[in-house]
Symmetry: C2
Subunit: 363 residues, 2 copies
């Protein structure tokens, strides 16, 4: 009997060498490749908000599908897990692994952040993308967020925004005097110096404030989003050619430690998916802004206007002043502005004889 | 001895029930998830050609990394596996699973194909992307390639191309008369009707033909690619604001059966990676065209010119004529043009008061 047990043990060992050994190795490999991650992604947008809010949802679906379910990302609208303006802190703390927002919301904490979202009289979407990916912009952005343990990645562009909704026509600089306008960021400071009264206000309060007269004017996004907010019922004139946001670049915020904990394939999936979202959002806004403006004009009788040249010239000169002061007061702004400005000077000259000349020629 | 063998057999069975049974299941699962695919991707560009040629290389690297090596794609330059103009047939036959090219090369086989690459006096990169993804363009493109067993996906944009290199100034329509110019596609037909002699010629022969006088002029891409070809040594004037290709949309061609054989996660990886390439290429061209033009002007003394308005007007009117004739002669062209034109009419009107007005205001 002893020998039987011995033989069986030997046989078992032999079998285990072939079968169980493989199995252990398979299991180990499978463990790495099949480890699942569940992430939270907090945003600054109402849940399923068109354009801005749809982008992180698309991103999450693509990542889950590409990873065969190994990286599941749950998207939270503003206020669902944390308020919209706490996205940065939440990702920094690691309470959520990811966020989707706009960098200008963090300018109180990081003065140079606005330059990664929108610069009045600055670069459009295509130019900003080029600066970020091939002009050193992304590296500067990463450097700014590094102390907070956050990796920024591109998260789409709204394209050129509209100057906003006004309850009176703007025919001269004097018409801006005392104008109560919902406008933030660098644009708000510029408006203030031009005589207006900039007011910060969440999107949800704009409509009633325009109706009650608490606001005389408000900028928001562009026709696609503005149509769904119904602003045409509360203000008569719609000013195009937004000077304050030639594009808004959106951002994905990723907690550095959470990202480092992912295997390489999932890291690459996240990175590539952010670029796909970046490609998609501008297409969506371009197509839908165009069709929404037709609805606003043809169905709702909205009157589209542009600021007269003297108003544009004043806003432009004031913008230059404000930015130079910001750069003089804060070294990190100076560093970012220096890179932005050098790239912008070249690309502006280039696009003047190419894109702009073409748009004029094709009319 | 018999009983020993019997016991061992039982023991083996028991072990196999626990170990080998699991192993079989693991193996099956692993087989699906770890089955590797090796694809060939043929292109119409010289190996590692800047911009156009780099895009499929980036794509292949991203796909391999995202799939943890389960989908390996080997990229072939033009002529390595098949000539550049045989990409379509090669993918259709399944000899290569993928291709990267420009749709206008297939206009002999598919008359409407040009509209998915470049339309003279047509939409720019942002507008074309919007039409493809949110205006029904991609569905029409898929329908055109379906009979050939090919799925088309976006593969990047070159941005606005330059009108080309000329060895004399173009001051009037008369200056085009008898001009031997390397230009193909719809642009070539337009040039022919304007009095020029369009010539088809591979990129590699342009330089010597300009030097020998076999060509008086040639369009190619834009400053980034044109600088590396050294055309500034062979022609004196560089005409910007290319009317013939307001953008060139590149394409990924995917063999339908090969795509269907991929598991869902790899299919999604391929799809998302094409969009990331689409995001990237325009940024690369935008940044590098801008810096290359500076080198051409400042270092090589290239003189940049634009066609006078009367020449532009003539080319534009002739383009409209050529396209209307194409649509009248061929139902598939009529279907595509009808979709393209409707989207274009709206977006042109929209961008006139937004992007174009902004570019003019920011100067």
């Amino acid at each position: 009997m002893k020998s039987i047990i011995k033989l069986s043990a030997i046989l078992f060992s032999v079998i285990c060498l072939s079968a169980c050994g493989d199995k252990q190795q398979d299991s180990k490999q499978a463990a790495t490749q099949q480890q699942t991650f569940e992430w939270k992604l907090v945003t600054s947008w109402p849940k399923n908000f068109p354009g801005l809010g749809r982008a992180p949802e698309t991103f999450a679906k693509q990542v889950e599908k590409m990873s065969a379910g190994r990286l599941k990302i749950k998207v939270y609208g503003a206020g669902e897990l944390v308020p919209g303006f706490e996205v940065f802190d939440t990702v920094s703390a690691g309470t959520a692994q990811m966020g989707h927002s706009g960098a200008y919301y963090w300018k109180g904490k990081i003065p140079a952040a606005s330059f990664f979202a929108a610069v009045p009289f600055g670069m459009n979407a295509t130019e900003t993308n080029a600066w970020l990916q091939y002009g050193g912009g992304l590296e500067l952005w990463q450097k700014l967020y590094k102390p907070f343990g956050i990796i920024p990645m591109v998260g789409g562009n709204s394209g050129l925004q509209f100057a906003g909704w006004f309850n009176k026509e703007i025919n001269s600089i004097d018409d801006l005097s005392g104008l109560k306008m919902r406008i933030g960021g660098i644009g708000g400071e510029v408006m203030s110096r031009a005589g207006a009264v900039p007011i910060n206000m969440p999107g949800g309060e704009i409509f009633s404030s325009l109706q009650s007269g608490a606001l005389d004017a408000s900028e928001w996004v562009g026709p696609y989003n503005d149509l769904s907010f119904g602003f045409y019922k509360a203000a008569k004139y719609y000013y195009s050619s937004g000077w304050q946001e030639p594009t808004a670049t959106l951002e994905f915020l990723i907690n550095e430690k959470a990202f480092a904990a992912l295997p390489e394939d999932l890291q690459e999936i996240v990175k590539v998916a952010t670029r796909a979202v970046n490609d998609d959002m501008l297409s969506e806004y371009t197509a839908r802004n165009s069709s929404a403006l037709k609805v606003l004009e043809e169905k709702h009788g909205v009157q589209v206007r542009t600021f007269p040249p003297e108003v544009m010239a004043k806003l432009k000169a004031t913008t230059a002043q404000v930015i130079e002061e910001m750069a003089a007061n804060e070294p990190s702004v100076a560093e970012v502005w220096s890179s932005y400005k050098a790239f912008y000077d070249d690309i502006r000259a280039y696009h003047k004889i190419t894109e702009q000349a073409y748009l004029e020629n094709r009319q």
